[in-house]
């Protein structure tokens, strides 16, 4: 717990310090056929992840993008005009401000964070499917608590793929796409939520487990899992 808090404080510093609502905040530009640039890329990427857009993410508003926007607007009961204005932007999940320089900046850091989130979401989805939301966040928190515990590997992938560590890795269910709630649970866990307050083990007491595991200090029971450190 204490160590978790100490490392938490570090994370606090790491996260909290990211400051400044971008001072040069400006609304997203309105996009129509023929538009080009970073905002088109942003819209294409979002439409592609949601399955509306099948073309290349190239920052050019062409025929395929138009088709995707039309379908998106129709399904979301927006005005079907093929113009990405404030209403369509907000339905796409982009409210208000655009981080204009972000589109041209190298995106490696943000990408690696979203990779970690995806890996975490897949483990949560496979290990805690059908558990209450609190239990799903808790499984994510256990993985992250292990990362900051010297007894375990120091990266998320190291913790996930450690031999014998997770059933989902042993039986291959980790490679299935994650459920929507698991994605959200992974994000909350990465942002620091931890319903277990520092647990590093969990198990299902209905299944046979060794006496050693029961010797751990139990923090809490959530759904079908017991969490301990």
């Amino acid at each position: 717990m204490g160590r978790r808090i100490a490392v938490g404080l570090l994370l606090a510093l790491l996260l909290v310090t990211a400051f400044s609502w971008p001072a040069s905040a400006q609304p997203r530009t309105t996009l129509r056929w023929g538009s080009r640039g970073g905002d088109v890329t942003v819209a294409q990427r979002r439409l592609a992840t949601w399955g509306y857009y099948r073309g290349r993410v190239d920052g050019i508003y062409g025929r395929l993008t138009y088709g995707a926007v039309i379908t998106f607007q129709r399904r979301n009961r927006l005005r079907v005009d093929g113009v990405v204005g404030p209403a369509t932007w907000s339905a796409l999940g982009y409210t208000g401000r655009a981080a204009a320089p972000a589109a041209v900046r190298p995106r490696t850091a943000a990408t690696s964070r979203s990779d970690e989130q995806n890996l975490l979401a897949r483990v949560i989805s496979a290990e805690a499917r059908g558990e209450p939301y609190e239990g799903q966040v808790a499984v994510g928190a256990v993985l992250l608590n292990r990362v900051s515990d010297p007894r375990f590997p120091s990266t998320i992938s190291g913790v996930v793929y450690e031999r014998y560590a997770f059933e989902a890795v042993s039986n291959g269910t980790i490679y299935q796409p994650p459920a929507a709630t698991a994605v959200r649970a992974a994000r909350d866990a990465l942002n620091g939520w931890d319903p277990t307050q520092g647990a590093v083990f969990y198990w299902n007491p209905a299944k046979p487990v060794s006496r050693w595991v029961w010797s751990r200090t139990i923090h809490k029971r959530i759904g079908n899992h017991v969490f301990a450190r």
Partner: protein
Amino acid sequence: MRKLKGLGLWLPVGAVAALGLAVWGVWTYRLTETNSGYAIAMEAQDQRHFNDMSRHVEQMQALLGKALVTGSPGQNMRYMADVYTHSEAAATSFHSLPLPAQLGAGTGKFLRQVGDFSASLLRHEAAGREMDVASRAELGRLRTEAANLSAQLQVINADHNQGGFRWNAPPRFTWYTLRHGYHPNADPVTTQDQAPANLIPAGWDQVRAAMDKLPVMVYDGPFSDHVNARRPAMSGAPVARPEAESRMRAYLPGSQGYRVTDVAELTTNLPAYSFRLDPATAAPGAARGGAGDNPGWTTTVDVSKNGGFLVQLLNSRMVGNPTIDLARARALGQAYLSSVGYPGMIAAYGEVRDGIATIQYAYQEHGVLIYPDQAKVNVALDNGEILAVDARQYLMSHHPRSLPAPQLTPREAEDRVNPDLAVARVQLTLIPSLSGADEILAYEFLGSLGQDAYLVYINAESGGEEQVLQQVQTDGGTFAL
């Protein structure tokens, strides 16, 4: 005649059966061949990781010895950096081995702590402080332990070379494997399966026994054992469960719409009641154990047993299309924190994902942003509801402080910043030390170098540079590395 007729019937059946048996036999042979191929490949992987680990531990031992001998601080810093590199590499190799947590915990911790301790000595020396007698003695002890571990690893390696054990083995035909199957990737700790447990070499038990006996290490680093014993700074009179429940009702927005289904107790150093609630409109039990992907919408509220403070809130309602923006969400979160007894919180960071704004707040006192006292809030952008709160760090560290006066003016501190950084803003802050045990008064400079934005922290008393963070812009907001 009749005999021939019978033969005429059975001959093709027998031939087909024989052919089938032959095909099955050959296929089984091929499968066995492939399986043993995999086992050999995995054996090579594991043995490679094991040998890498042995080599790194040997190097740690040698470098710790040199660090004790050298009389030059510059040379010593080099050795400390090398010890850190080798101990991290040893830990990485070690965690790649097929050992259950039960056997590996002590060894993994030892390796990481040696590295962490060396890094903390390196930081001290880089700041111009010489290594003291106690640290020297500790280095000597660590060297002895590393040498012991190294010797034990050599024994295990010799055992492997003589064929005494294998990390992996193809399944053997026994009554046990016939009845129970063979699970080389199952954890012997959690499944009680005897088959893989037999693969673990006996030498590891001795390593574990030695490692579990090591004394605790206290030093200025994140893995130091003393940070384990921290108590929450915000405490109060013990609160009974009915009182905690009425407080919970006050903390939970729209609490009349919920029904308590379960209460759990958290037994940690921040003990709490954990209330599970379902929306009152849902059928009883519908929210839990529900089908498949979406187990429904539940809410959990943790209220601390000592003082009855709000510790954590987690609501899993799916949100609709956004109607409010981040600035509005910031204000809502701030007002909420103030209403549940955490006033004076300033929004420091925010990110929007899938219609939810995650905002981090830090306490502000006399214009100083106190980062250790932080709380996080998730705001639903469809109706402004508070979906989640995490106040653990605030509860752990918030206490009345007498803030020291800065010895440097902002301008003097800015002179210490790398002149290549174009400074845009300065703010006086209190930041946690690397171990989280101490707090440092520092000027925070937001600046940019090329395309990237950075935050630089200059100690407001000594003028030393404490920390550099990179600020990353994502589609939904900013976060720091």
